[in-house]
């Protein structure tokens, strides 16, 4: 880890002013930034510590019913907030399916949005990576890239965004509040992360000095609470990043889907809102055929970026799974293994059921 100057601002304004100096980086929990500093991927000259700023760790309900979540709210606190969990169970489920309890106790809402890709070549400073070192190339292409992107990638970068949290957020039209040198602005989360295109080093719309101060979920997003689930496929039962994941949220009335939300994780450089799938579901009966059609629509543009063609079909299937679970109704209590394929097989049975 390089030496850096440590700055502890007393207000957001001070923080933004301090971060305007080139080479600065904000330190929230540090669960991602410090890790990247340890492996040499991030080498900031100044750290602007957000941990002592007032009022950034508040979950509040605004008069119009919007929920506003301060950027410094810790993942675990949000997931276990009784009111939040009841109104946005799919967000809680996604949060609790990510990382470990220790990391969720530390990691912040703002930091989760800004976590960097897990691409091995991004993390390896001896490798070519356009995202880390613009113009150096992409060693993930031609390497073992079974976990890489199948949507929205470019020849310059095939990395994925690793967040679970962002997947239901983007489905529920979350909005990011940003404070920057030019003042405050709001960006829909769907537009916050950038696809790689020719500039994979630009991962979000944030400009130097910009600080994520809060996240907002509109009141109407709580209208999906009865039918909202997150499903996550992973290579061990817990404490693993998604191979693919999906957040599904439905409004169902009189046996028909009146409104659907679907987003995919682990498939692209951003949480992937599947609007075509949502359109296909609107008005449909919530059944397997409709979910299959939606999944086909969601992945219509998908193409392998390497040895990862299998992920396309798995993304369809995880979308179907999330939709099926959502249609069945949100459980009163989240399962013991959130978002897991084994969520309800919690007690090992002495014998399998023969069929």
């Amino acid at each position: 880890m390089n030496r850096f100057e440590y700055v502890r601002p007393r207000s957001v304004a001070e923080a933004v002013a301090a971060a305007a100096i080139p080479g600065s980086a904000y330190l929230a929990a540090g669960t991602n930034l410090l890790d990247l500093m340890k492996i040499g991927v991030a080498r900031p000259e100044r750290l602007i510590d957000l941990n002592h700023l007032p009022d950034l760790d508040i979950i509040e309900q605004l008069p119009d019913g919007t929920v506003r979540i301060g950027a410094q709210v810790r993942n675990a606190d949000l997931a276990h907030d009784p009111d939040f969990r009841q109104r946005f169970p799919v967000v809680a489920e996604a949060l609790l399916s990510g990382a470990s309890a220790q990391l969720r106790n530390m990691a912040t809402v703002g930091g989760n949005l800004l976590q960097r890709t897990r691409c091995a070549w991004f993390q390896d400073t001896a490798s070519a990576c356009n995202r880390r070192a613009p113009g150096s190339g992409c060693d993930a292409r031609g390497g073992e890239n079974r976990m890489h992107a199948v949507l929205g990638w470019s020849e310059h970068c095939i990395a994925t965004h690793p967040s679970d949290f962002c997947v239901p957020l983007v489905a529920l039209d979350a909005v990011v509040e940003i404070e920057g040198p030019a003042g405050r602005r709001e960006i829909p989360l769907a537009d916050f992360h950038l696809l790689p295109g020719d500039t994979p080093e630009r991962e979000s719309v944030l400009a130097p000095g910009d600080l994520v101060v809060a996240l907002r979920l509109p009141a109407e997003a709580a209208g999906f609470a009865a039918h909202a689930r997150y499903a996550k496929l992973r290579e061990r039962t817990s404490y693993a990043f998604a191979v693919v994941s999906a957040a599904a949220a439905l409004r169902i009335a009189d046996g028909r889907i009146t409104e659907a939300r679907l987003a995919l994780g682990g498939v692209a450089a951003k949480p992937w809102r599947a609007r075509a799938a949502e359109a296909a579901l609107a008005g449909a009966t919530p059944d397997a055929a409709a979910f299959r059609r939606a999944a086909e629509a969601a992945l219509a543009e998908a193409r392998p970026s390497g040895d990862n063609g299998f992920k396309i079909e798995l993304a369809r299937r995880i979308a179907i799974r999330a939709l099926t679970l959502a249609a069945a109704g949100t459980p009163d209590r989240l399962p013991a293994l959130p978002a897991s394929a084994f969520a309800s097989s919690s007690t090992p049975r002495p014998r399998g059921l023969h069929v």
Partner: protein, 746 residues
């Protein structure tokens, strides 16, 4: 030993006592090597190569030195001299080491410099500032590399080729045949404790905190390398944070010692997790082809197990995967063949159940495939081919309760009624359910070991043996053996271990530590008791005077007449009257050549696995593991169960999780961390059970002990692979089983 007959009625052996080091470990007071901090200590950090082959052309030593807090940068030019070349192998189990001897790079992760600084932060950053430039050369790092050769031997001196009976004729005549190729991956031990050393020189004397599985071997090799006297080298290793075969002497630890010599201050060097994927050995990938034939009734007629594996360009250890095929199933014709390639990687080595883990998953899968071809239940098929004598050698087993393992394991698991065909079971949630079985086996070895016992005038006992506790429970199990050998309760016994100044306890490896050092301890205690008995029997003032013909019993700190236990006296009284502060006994143990010649010696077990597989997503969970093991006498069932659980979880990891992802273009491993190199987490292990099957072995060694540390991984990996087939109907022969393979089954 004395002619006098005496018997020890131990009450400690066989008891499930809790760990004697338990309180130290749960309170954070157990001092692992890197927890030490001698006065004036500096921190050393390795810089390692990011290329796999070529040479280091430039290191920015100036920038590293300029970093505040940096004391020295050790490179080839200023590295203190060694008395022996790092490739010297005069000490057993020695592998070539990379000790900055030149500018060549022979694998990614090879140490190329050491930075010594006042703080860990400074040393770490300065190591990064060295920013090496390389002259890189093309690499070969996969099993497809050119230049395959037939080795002279595999493992530790095992023959690379063995033909018994006429395999080709057997296969030609077989009613059912299978030929299948299985691939196992590159794996790393990943003990939770990184390799480390704290080194403090005092002139030519050296004191080390160094986690090692072989104190005496480490002491011998280090003294020779450094050109110092053995008696000037003191190694403390009371606790290892796991070893699994990786914690014999390796280069990075020596570099820490040399760094301390260079700067004249104590130095601590701890590898980063990523640095444990290179210079501290690994399990090689294997590609194994099995050709099996069976007669109409399911009797095996031929087994051919061919292995292709890899070693480094500069040294040799070959994963002996095929060895398992000559020990488990009866067949009139058995052949083993090996070939290997040389790669631009670090040198492979011993990783928990070397050869047997990788070989077992292939053999157990192949046996299952053949059972299916024969239309037989896989357990019945194994019983049909039960080896009554060791298949190739024809030797009788010193003991073998495998039949009981199959029976007890199957009963406990509920194997009866398992549908023969795959994909026939689902649970209430619609998950595919599959059941599989695997046979576990591990040879019972014995190594040289020594111990010293003392009975003190206050009636207490002392046992000394430089044993190693890497989690198996040495502090406890050896104390139990020692207490019984001295006829004392555990509370009256002091046990000293984990230090090179103590008698040589051999190595903690080959699942042989308890048998070897335990044998030495047993003998040492016996000799001390015999000496004490001599004192009493010859003393007319003793109630035991003249009891020599009937013998004495040592129990509870007293010697008693065997024919009349009301007549006896305490150790303290005997010693007091003799005017002695103590009596001493020495003991040693080693393999009994005559018994080894006469008998085949193996531990056995049967593992039953249930997996559930998501039918659409392909995600797998091993929902139940039941292992039944017979391994001779059990010193402490609580500890033994834990060893089996741990081994079985390694088997689970082998089948479903762990794998190093090598980039064949660069020779760099791309998942040198614990986020992407997956080992099981708690949620991966919902149910694991171990049944201790009674087995008495009068031949294997004095205590009747076979090893328990490694056997659990064998059998389990194959049982899980077989259960995945039974759940899905898809036979996956590439390990670990990956989601893209199981999801295709949907």
């Amino acid at each position: 030993m004395s002619e006098i007959q005496h018997m020890r009625h131990g009450s400690s052996i066989g008891q499930p006592v809790t760990r004697r080091d338990g309180v130290l470990k749960v309170t954070g007071q157990a001092r692992y090597a890197a927890d030490n901090h001698p006065s004036g200590m500096l921190h050393a950090v390795l810089a390692v190569s990011r290329i796999a082959r070529g040479r280091v052309a430039f290191l920015d030593i100036q920038s590293a030195r300029a970093h505040p807090g940096v004391v020295e940068v050790m490179v080839t030019a200023n590295r203190p001299a060694l008395a022996l070349h790092p490739d010297d192998k005069s000490v057993p189990f020695s592998f070539s080491m990379d000790l900055l001897q030149d500018d060549r790079v022979r694998y990614a992760g090879q140490p190329i410099a050491v930075v010594i600084a006042e703080t860990l932060e400074a040393a770490t950053e300065a190591a990064a500032l060295l920013a090496p430039r390389y002259e890189a050369e093309p690499v070969e790092v996969t099993l497809d590399a050119a230049g395959a050769f037939v080795p002279e031997s595999v493992g530790v001196g095992a023959p690379a080729e063995m033909w018994h009976g006429d395999v080709e004729a057997g296969l030609a005549a077989a009613a059912q045949r299978i030929e299948a190729t299985y691939e196992t991956p590159l794996q790393f031990h990943n003990a939770m404790e990184p390799h480390c050393v704290v080194a403090a020189w005092d002139g030519d004397a050296l004191s080390l905190d160094l986690p090692t599985q072989g104190l005496a071997l480490t002491q011998m090799r280090l003294a020779a390398l450094l050109g110092i006297r053995m008696e000037d080298l003191h190694i403390r290793s009371p606790f290892l944070g796991g070893g699994f075969g990786s914690k014999l002497l390796t280069g990075p630890q020596v570099l820490g010692i040399l760094a301390a010599r260079l700067v004249g201050w104590p130095v601590k060097l701890v590898l980063t997790r990523a640095q444990m994927y290179g210079p501290v050995s690994h399990r090689s990938p294997t590609r194994q082809t099995l050709r099996l034939g069976a007669a109409q009734d399911g009797a095996l007629v031929a087994i051919h197990h061919h292995v292709r594996t890899a070693t480094s360009r500069f040294d040799e250890f070959l994963e002996p995967s095929a060895g398992v095929s000559q020990a488990v199933y009866a067949a009139p014709a058995i052949a083993i063949t090996n070939e290997a390639v040389r790669l631009d990687t670090g040198t492979p080595g011993f990783m928990r159940a070397p050869g047997l883990a990788s070989g077992s998953i292939a053999l157990e899968s192949a046996i299952d495939e053949l059972a299916d071809s024969c239309g037989m239940d896989p357990l019945d098929f194994r019983l049909k081919n039960y080896a009554e004598v060791e298949p190739v050698s024809g030797k009788p087993f010193s003991s073998k309760a495998l039949r009981e393992c199959y029976a007890e394991g199957a009963a406990h698991f509920g194997w009866a009624g398992r549908p023969l065909a795959p994909r026939r079971m689902r649970d209430a949630d619609g998950l595919l359910v599959g059941w599989g079985v695997g046979t576990a086996t591990f040879p019972a070895h014995m190594f040289q070991a020594e111990a010293r016992a003392v009975l003190r005038r206050d009636g207490s006992g002392l046992m000394e043996s430089g044993t190693h506790d890497m989690g198996q429970g040495a502090w406890t199990a050896f104390a139990q053996i020692a207490a019984d050998s001295l006829g004392l309760g555990l509370d009256r016994l002091e046990f000293r271990a984990g230090h090179s100044d103590l008698p040589n306890a051999g190595i903690a490896g080959g699942s042989a530590h308890t048998a070897s050092a335990g044998g030495a301890i047993h003998a040492a205690g016996g000799q001390a008791i015999a000496r004490l008995a001599e004192l009493a029997l010859a003393d007319p003032r003793s109630p035991l005077f003249g009891a020599g013909n009937v013998g004495v019993v040592a129990r509870g700190g007293r010697l008693l007449r065997r024919d009349d236990e009301n007549r006896g006296e305490s150790y303290a009284d005997i010693l007091a009257r003799a005017g002695l502060d103590m009596v001493e006994g020495r003991g040693s143990a080693a393999a009994d050549a005559a018994a080894t010649e006469r008998y085949a010696m193996h531990a056995h077990g049967a593992v039953f696995a249930e997996v559930k597989v998501d039918p659409e997503l392909g995600q797998i969970r091993a929902t139940r593991l039941v292992g039944a093991f017979a391994a001779g006498r059990v010193i402490n069932p609580r500890l033994v169960r834990s060893q089996y659980y741990g081994g079985m979880i390694w088997g689970l990891s082998f089948a479903l999780h762990e794998r190093a992802a090598m980039d064949p273009r660069t020779g760099r491993i791309m998942n040198t961390d614990l986020a992407e190199y997956h080992v099981p987490v708690n949620a991966d292990v919902p149910s694991v059970e171990a049944i201790l099957v009674e087995e008495q072995d009068p031949h294997v060694n004095a205590l009747g002990i076979k090893g328990v540390g490694e056997i659990g991984i064998t059998g389990t990996a194959g049982a899980i692979a077989n259960a995945v087939w039974h759940a899905t109907g898809v036979r996956i022969r590439h390990f670990p089983i990956a989601i893209e393979q199981t999801s295709r089954a949907a």
